[in-house]
Homo-oligomer: 212 residues x 2
Amino acid sequence: MARKKVVLRREEILEATVEQIKQRGIATTRVADVAGALKVSSGLVHYHFATKELLVEEAFAYAARREMEALRTTIARSGSVVTRMKALIRLYAPTGQAPGWRLWIDGWSAGMRDKGLHDVMRKMDEEWKSSIVSLVQEGMDNGEFHCADARVVAWRITLFLDGLAVQLVARRGALEKAEAAQWVREHVAGQLGIDPAALGPRRAAGQRADIS
Amino acid sequence: MARKKVVLRREEILEATVEQIKQRGIATTRVADVAGALKVSSGLVHYHFATKELLVEEAFAYAARREMEALRTTIARSGSVVTRMKALIRLYAPTGQAPGWRLWIDGWSAGMRDKGLHDVMRKMDEEWKSSIVSLVQEGMDNGEFHCADARVVAWRITLFLDGLAVQLVARRGALEKAEAAQWVREHVAGQLGIDPAALGPRRAAGQRADIS
DNA sequence: CTGTTGACTGACGAATCAGTCAATAATTAC
DNA sequence: GTAATTATTGACTGATTCGTCAGTCAACAG
């Protein structure tokens, strides 16, 4: 009962799959779990997605698509480049419980053996970096940023955020959230050639810079 | 046939388990794979390790122990602190195919749900960082390094290497090995307040520093 | 109102694998 | 040399889970 159009049902299933994977991880998520979460038969999941492998890959692609949309929206907003960069950091730095990062960490691991998954992650990473590059370039062009190579800067920022995500997941609790946030600001600001305070939590500028 | 003392057999099995996990990943490694690699029955593996979960955890602990021994050996060598830091980077930077990193990336993922694994990884990370801290501190004390806080520097170096590992695995081939090595040198040197050329591939010092 | 499509079910087949256990071969103890 | 001990086997079980399929029923077209 409650029959749905294919597109809607597929999206619903992908959404549920992403949620289950965040909670249980890829390996321990059963297609029965996904079906159960939607109160639907496991047969239906297979009706829409032939194999579990395909389901997982499409779920990652779905999650990646949503993430990239959010990124593009943030970047396309009005306001100074610095302000948008700040928003971007708040969106993606793994400060907080960062349930989204759990998904990507699982993806890195599974992607080492699953070609399809690997390609999905790779494509997302390319989009992510090219978005950062264009934002950084915009800042360089209008004089807000002072750095040499937008591509290298984008890589280094990505590197740092990935590493931080690993640390905050692999050593939950060992690093203060506030300290991590401070490091992100310092690192990004250093890369962009701006004042770390400009990326501070509230006001864009004009607060004490109590860092070494 | 070919009976072995428990300690030896256990070590052999752990070694084989690590190898299998590097190749297949945690989830898709069967205990039959481990047994098969040693040309031994699966019953024997269970004779030494009650459950697969235990086997995997101990395999990670074993790998971590070996890695930490190598680290301590490198750090305890004679020579300047810079030289030892250079050796350390060569040992751990995920330049090359880095099969060791595959293990840790799997560990990060599985450790999010497996308490025992999580603790193993956490302990190794603590040891790793405290080793780095003491090396950095030594360099600060004898004037080779110029930085403010050894702990923060150790964290940032770790962060960077982890992030780089992710990038080189998640986007195999997209980043030139040489460029990655260059970035590691720049980042580490920047943190330590020294000339990146001092961490260069061959001679300890006295070569051109062709970086921005 | 009726026929057709297609989303959906639920039971089932088939395969996979972790873990058990009784039997056996090698080692050690005495 | 014999008994006790211990490492090892390999066949087996029980549980799990992916994927299939024959059939049901809602929605819609005509």
